[in-house]
């Protein structure tokens, strides 16, 4: 596959690892904030291939994981209403809400449908004019432009029975919150590649400027990630700190201006509650006044409950990079992919799920 296979070349991997080995002397901790990066590190076996001093931890990079239970509960309240079809990305199906999951509700005959693209929910709305189709919108900046397009499409085509639960979040404010909290000593950030295709490199500039921490925007293939580690090590070696783009084939400094415009046309930035991190200012998206008629919760009269955490679940600390999954008392015992307690275990890109799948739940 073009533009994928070349970046998996084992010879390039070998060369990069050698150079990393030569540069990595003292212990360094880098944080990645993208579930796909979490998975890639495990999937290819990169973690074990990196020399000892290089330590990569996971941050709040999984939008499924940081979506609070009250949003899921609200989605379930929605689908319990008469004549509602709930459309969702597959990732949300198995996530536990406070008492159930969308998958379990589907088994109980609620009309929950998995879609691959948000646009598919418009098609469902058109085919079911007597039903209300509610789309559960979860994701970071990679996904929100396509949701914006979907809302605009509904407006353009006059599809009145389409509604949105807008639970989208923004990554740079979460990175800022982590740095402000100062819980973890970080020597560098591996920034999310596809979020950055939308927002560009500018939103991360505050990190080296204010906190002196090197940043690299990385692709997802092994060569990309290893080259990114090398870039961070070089910056540290040269005493520099700036935002560098490794994923130059997809990320431009100004990102995708058209996508950014679609987002601002439909959404406005609001404060948002992140599971494990609490309320973060200006870190979420809500439908702006022009498009508020598409707000599902408002239309159906559903309120959001107080966000709550299952007792013993350490997802919060794991999402903040303070702990790793094997340190959670539930991990591998009470909390497994088959019977997940917290979202980090059930999301296909959750940190706990990644650890469990690829290390078979080995405990600390």
């Amino acid at each position: 596959m073009k533009f994928v296979d070349e970046f998996q070349d084992p010879r390039l991997v070998k060369g990069l690892l050698q150079e990393i080995g030569a540069l990595a002397e003292r212990r360094v901790t880098f944080m990645e904030v993208c579930g796909t990066h979490t998975m890639a590190l495990f999937k290819y076996g990169i973690r074990e291939m990196l020399p000892n001093p290089v330590n990569i931890i996971s941050g709040p990079g999984c939008p499924v994981c940081v979506t609070p239970t009250n949003v899921l509960d609200a989605a379930m309240d929605a689908v319990h209403k008469k004549n509602v079809i709930l459309a969702t990305f597959g990732d949300m199906m198995r996530v536990p809400g406070s008492s159930s999951s969308l998958e379990a509700e589907k088994a109980l005959r609620s009309d929950v449908r998995v879609v691959y693209s948000a646009m598919d929910s418009l098609g469902i709305a058109e085919s079911n004019p007597d039903k209300e189709v509610v789309f559960l919108g979860v994701g970071f900046e990679t996904t929100s432009p396509s949701i914006a397009c979907t809302v605009l499409g509904a407006a353009r085509k006059g599809i009145e029975n389409f509604k949105l639960i807008a639970a989208h979040k923004l990554i740079p404010p979460a990175m800022k919150a982590l740095l402000e909290a100062g819980e973890v000593q970080l020597d560098g950030f591996i920034c999310p590649g596809h979020v950055s295709t939308i927002i560009g490199s500018e939103p991360y500039e505050f990190i080296p400027k204010k906190y002196g921490i090197p940043c690299v925007i990385s692709g997802f293939e092994p060569v990309d990630m290893l080259q990114s580690v090398l870039i961070l090590l070089r910056q540290i070696d040269e005493g520099k700190s700036k935002v560098e783009v490794q994923y130059s084939r997809s990320v431009k400094p100004d990102g995708n201006p058209i996508a950014k415009r679609f987002i601002s046309e439909v959404f406005e930035t609001v404060d948002s509650y992140w599971r494990g991190l609490g309320e973060i200012p200006a870190s979420g998206l809500a439908l702006n006044e022009r498009f508020r008629e598409y707000d599902a919760l408002k239309y159906l009269g559903i309120g959001l409950k107080e966000p709550a955490e299952p007792p013993g679940c350490m997802c919060g600390e794991i999402l903040r990079g303070v702990r790793s999954p094997p340190e959670c008392s539930l991990y591998g015992l009470m909390c497994t992919p088959e019977r997940p307690v917290g979202p980090c275990m059930v999301s296909s890109e959750g940190t706990c799920s990644a650890y469990y799948r690829y290390t078979r739940g080995a405990r600390a």
Binding site: Y44, E103, A104, G139, E338, Y358, R360
Partner: protein, 335 residues
């Protein structure tokens, strides 16, 4: 969590949840030591004749797909289960559950497929049953087949030996992707056909050529990864496979990338894995490659002593990771 009280789709996916259901609810009630072995079919002796006996139900949707239909699947599925017991399948029975309103023309098409498949596999359908249920009580048509055969050589998922070479008979993921591309409304066009085929001819040819075959299994639901994990557990051994050696068509890889699926977990209906002693492996490969169902056969790994009950994979870039059993149902994801 209500999933403990209700059957979920994931319980039928062939992965961990299916396994749990079998262990907790089925094996605790049906105590036969034959059943407990959890091979593809039951193997037992009656009056000095060693027999293999198996059953399977087919609920595939859509019922007509690129490369076959539910009828072809039903015959080959059971033919293969019997063959994986090291047996020659001889007689099959079939049972149809048809939804009221189903087109007679479609039924005839399916029955023709079944007859063609039975002819190709050299088996006879000798008994059957037909039920019709009211509209809405079944989705178009469900088919059950059961089969019986005579064992040529006893193989079992518990027979893997340390040092055994693991051979796959060809490209993985074809069937699952062919079905998925037509079923889920994913608007995916993939020039891939279901690999639905009878493997009994291939099995016979390798069984009569060498003694060193220990395990045969066809990786259906749950894919290659699940099958290898099952065998590792049954035989209490470790398995190491090489990602670079596993044959996957580009189009299947592309479709999996789009949907966020892993080809290792995608269903196959015309492939088998063979665990064979290292000395016999080259001969087995030679024979397989002469058969149309084994033309792309290759060695993908071997049986190791540790870690027991686990499958390790050497990745394309030279790293190593664990290949776990399938979780629930593989859902198309964006994440």
């Amino acid at each position: 969590m209500t999933s403990g009280e209700r059957i979920l789709l994931a319980h039928g996916a062939g992965g961990k949840l299916t396994r749990r259901l079998i262990e907790k609810d089925i094996l605790t009630r049906f105590m036969s030591p034959i059943l407990k072995r959890l091979d593809d079919g039951a193997v037992f002796t009656i009056e000095n004749l060693k027999l293999a006996y198996s059953t399977d139900s087919f609920v595939v949707d859509p019922i007509f797909f690129r490369g076959g239909d539910i009828g072809k699947l039903a015959i080959n599925g059971t033919v293969n289960d019997i063959a994986m017991c090291g047996a020659v399948p001889i007689y099959l029975t079939t049972s149809l559950i048809i939804e009221e309103g189903f087109q007679l023309e479609d039924l005839r098409r399916i029955l023709n497929s079944m007859q063609d498949a039975a002819d190709e596999a050299n088996v006879e359908v000798v008994a059957g049953d037909t039920k019709v249920v009211s509209a809405g009580s079944a989705d178009k048509i469900f088919i059950n087949t059961s089969g019986i055969g005579i064992v040529e050589k006893e193989v079992s998922g518990s027979n893997a030996k340390i040092g055994d070479k693991i051979i796959i008979s060809g490209f993985i993921g074809d069937h699952g992707i062919a079905i998925l591309s037509e079923r889920e409304g994913l608007d995916l066009k993939v020039p891939v056909y279901s690999d639905c085929s009878p493997l009994n001819g291939l099995v016979s040819s390798i069984l009569c050529a060498t003694e060193g075959i220990h395990v045969l299994r066809d990786p259906t639901r749950g894919g290659l990864a699940t099958t290898l994990n099952e065998i590792a557990l049954q035989s209490d051994v470790g398995i190491r496979i090489d990602e670079g050696m596993i044959p996957v068509r580009d189009a299947v890889r592309g479709a999996c990338e789009i949907l966020g699926l892993d080809p290792l977990y995608v269903a196959n209906e015309g492939k088998m894995v063979i665990f064979v002693s290292p000395l016999d492996a080259p001969r087995v490969l030679e024979i397989m490659r002469k058969n149309k169902n084994g033309a792309d056969a290759r060695v993908i790994g071997e049986v190791i002593a540790e870690p027991r009950g686990m499958v390790l994979m050497r990745t394309r870039i030279g790293g190593e990771r664990i290949v776990d059993m399938l979780e629930g149902e593989q859902l198309p994801r964006i994440c």
